[in-house]
């Protein structure tokens, strides 16, 4: 398209790609994992793999909020809205994520449930203000990036005395997921660290990756050039046998992160002892719950939502995809039984999901190979 900005410059990219091709050692392979779905999306969107030598393999991580939400948590939301006849506000992507037995919020909506698609939690608050006679619940998901806005809005609801509003909190934390991936072993040589998440938490919480697991991690922005630079930095570290946390995204990320946002999170949330992630299982200290002081705005406490366990579709390989052990195209139902129109698993729903990214941007490669 007709623009040339600093982070998308095609020539700069070619230069960096040439540098990377020269830097890779001839007889070794590099397995790099990008944690964030935002990065996965950018890789496919810009065709970044085309610029890299064959010896670099990009493995897609679990950093996609829609993808890691387990079926049970989704099913609980479906049951809540149908049982309590309230207004459930949700991001559009969540409407298509399969819960138990392939049920979805979209199907519940068709059955008559009042489910509204919103762009942010503030929209949900607005709906609550406009309908004082109805109970309004916001389905909150996301990593550390979307957590501070949730805290701000709950605060606002409290100050306004808005008692018909509450939040179904599914916020999760990045470092525990990384810890789980590393504990499970695997062949990742280095990590591309989160962009937006790191603006909140800073680079310091990733130190354990280098210190305890001797893997380099480079925090990178979501622009394609950011990613190429981060890859070059990882290759340098791996070749030199180093393992440190580096920050490519210095224009937005500091070591300590955003203290104010961290304060807000601390005030509003407590860490759950354990939480289920789709694909990664139950991870200790990996998610947030609303503190008892704000119980009135916590849908789980207010409506006594029972915990639900639900099995994923038996053909679904989302677990392996989210752990990076399978490529989306290794899943037997990819592009056949499972498509963005009829997703069997969550990774095919959100644009940040690896299966959806491959389906949308990369299918021609598979076709060319076969």
């Amino acid at each position: 398209m007709k623009y040339l900005d600093e982070f998308r410059d095609g020539q700069l990219a070619q230069g960096l790609a040439a540098h990377i091709r020269q830097a890779v050692a001839p007889n070794r392979h590099y397995a790099l994992m990008e944690f964030c779905g935002g990065h996965t999306h950018a890789i496919c969107r810009y065709g970044i793999e085309d610029l890299l030598p064959d010896t670099i393999r990009l493995i897609h991580g679990p950093g996609c909020p829609v993808c890691v939400l387990p079926s049970g948590r989704l099913q609980a939301a479906i049951e809540l809205v149908e049982r309590e006849r309230l207004i459930l506000c949700s991001y559009g992507d969540l409407l298509r994520v399969p819960g138990a037995h392939g049920d979805t919020l979209l199907k519940a909506k068709a059955r008559g449930a009042d489910i509204r698609m919103v762009y942010s939690i503030s929209d949900a608050l607005e709906i609550a203000r406009a309908h004082p006679e109805r109970s309004v619940v916001f389905f909150a998901i996301g990593f550390e990036t979307t957590t501070p806005p949730t805290a701000v809005v709950i605060r606002q609801a409290q100050q306004e005395g808005l008692r018909n509003f509450s939040v179904y909190c599914n916020h999760v934390l990045t470092p525990p997921a990384l810890r789980a991936l590393l504990a499970a072993g695997g062949e990742v040589d280095g990590f591309i660290g989160p962009a937006h998440v790191s603006t909140i938490i800073g680079s310091q919480p990733y130190e354990f990756v280098a210190r305890d697991h001797q893997r380099p991690l480079v925090i990178a922005g979501f622009e394609p050039l950011d990613m190429l630079r981060a890859i070059a930095m990882l290759i340098r570290q791996i070749n030199a046998g180093e393992a440190i946390v580096e920050n490519e995204y210095t224009r937005a990320v500091s070591a300590a992160g955003n203290r104010k946002a961290q304060g807000l999170m601390e005030e509003m949330f407590r860490v759950r002892p354990t939480f289920e992630w789709r694909g990664l299982g139950w991870l200790p200290d990996s998610a947030l719950a609303i503190r008892p002081e704000f119980a009135e705005w916590d849908a789980e406490q207010r409506f006594e939502m029972p915990p639900i366990q639900a099995a994923d579709h038996k053909a679904c390989a989302c677990g392996e995809v989210l752990r990076g052990v399978k490529h989306p195209q290794d899943c037997t139902v990819f592009g056949t039984a499972c498509t963005p129109e009829h997703p069997l698993g969550s990774c095919m729903v959100s644009a940040e999901g690896a299966c959806a990214a491959y389906y949308h941007y990369g299918r021609f490669r598979q076709a060319a190979a076969s």
Partner: protein
């Protein structure tokens, strides 16, 4: 009986609202039609006040298209639902290479809708139709209860004629053809999106809503053998290209660097996580023609005010998968897929 006896009090446009009686078929409806619609659209066919319009058609192939318009907000930078409903159908007719002649307009009004807003919309339609040289010759209004509509929905139907020797259809796209685009993409959709109350961005983006039939006429004169024309409206450029690829049984290869895109659209798209390739346009067209005629067609497009930024953006290829692929500015390749569901702002 004089008009004055029939409607002793004029419509209170400044303070009045649509009421159920405005759709009831009685005096209130007659007054609304007369004082608002007939005044604005005035022409010889409407003046007869018949239920239908009668007109002679030159001996030639006829083209007919219909389009329903729902947009929120109703007024957006660069236009409103009124002019949009005229441009939209004129453009659908024009995409057959036709000259649009007549329009029919049908309104579904929501009880409580302010008459002042309705007047603005109707006048905007009248102006758009007049500018385009197309008459709105018949119409209808219905009123639905409050809460059952979104202010106003407008359906327009258009009729046009095609010159002999012009056969424009998506199915004619063939391997080797050039793909041309008349200007920068994503402006209508982004202008509307930026005004949604929950986003409210301060941007200079204006909707590109415009009637394209004169541009089409200039193009058909320059290159009568244009294979295919399409206005990439809802679903944007990506959707229009995929539709053509499917219909014609071909693939497409695009150059991202050649696709015109203005900075504010790119920046807002980046911010919201929306791809401008999927954002609606209301004043742009895609043309597919034999490669040998591409430069001539491009020159004709650039000579017209609505095609000044026209560009050749790619070519049609043989491809059993009917894939639309794009070389990114970055040097990689990607698929430009069908949209699935609605494009939504990113949450990560």
């Amino acid at each position: 009986m004089s008009r004055r006896d029939l409607f002793p009090r004029r419509l209170d446009i400044a303070h009045g609202c649509i009421e159920m009686t405005h759709g009831g078929g009685g005096r209130a409806m007659a007054q609304l039609i007369e004082e608002l619609f007939l005044t604005a659209f005035d022409n010889e066919w409407l003046r007869t006040q018949d239920d239908c319009a009668q007109f002679a058609i030159p001996a030639s192939r006829l083209v007919m298209a219909t389009d329903s318009h729902v947009v929120s907000p109703l007024f957006f930078p660069g236009g409103d639902i009124g002019c949009l409903s005229v441009h939209g159908t004129i453009n659908d007719v024009a995409m057959a290479g036709a000259r649009p002649l007549y329009l029919a307009a049908s309104f579904i009004l929501e009880e409580g809708f302010p008459l002042a807003d309705l007047k603005r919309i109707v006048e905007s339609m009248a102006q758009a139709a007049r500018q385009a040289g197309v008459a709105i010759v018949t119409g209808d209004t219905k009123v639905v209860e409050r809460g059952k509509g979104d202010g106003v929905f407008i359906t327009t139907t258009g009729i046009g004629i095609v010159a002999a020797g012009v056969t424009i259809s998506a199915s004619r796209a063939q391997p080797g053809d050039a793909i041309l685009l008349s200007g920068a993409i994503g402006e209508h959709g982004m202008a509307v999106l930026s005004q949604r109350e929950n986003l409210s961005f301060d941007t200079p983006i204006q909707s590109d809503t415009a009637a394209l039939h004169e541009l089409v006429a200039a193009m058909v004169t320059a290159v009568p053998d244009i294979h295919c024309l399409r206005d990439p409206t809802r679903g944007g450029l990506a959707t229009a290209l995929n539709e053509i690829a499917q219909q014609a049984g071909v693939g497409m290869r695009l150059q991202e660097a050649a696709i015109p895109l203005r900075e504010p659209v790119r920046a807002l798209g980046e911010f919201l996580g929306l791809d401008p390739l999927y954002i609606a346009n209301e004043g742009k067209l895609l043309a597919i023609c034999p490669a040998a005629a591409a430069d001539k067609l491009l020159a004709a497009m650039r000579d017209h005010p609505l095609g000044q930024e026209a560009a050749i953006i790619g070519q049609v290829v043989a491809d059993d998968h009917h894939f639309v692929e794009m070389k990114t500015v970055f040097g990689g390749s990607r698929l430009v897929d069908w949209l699935s569901g609605e494009q939504l702002p990113r949450i990560c």
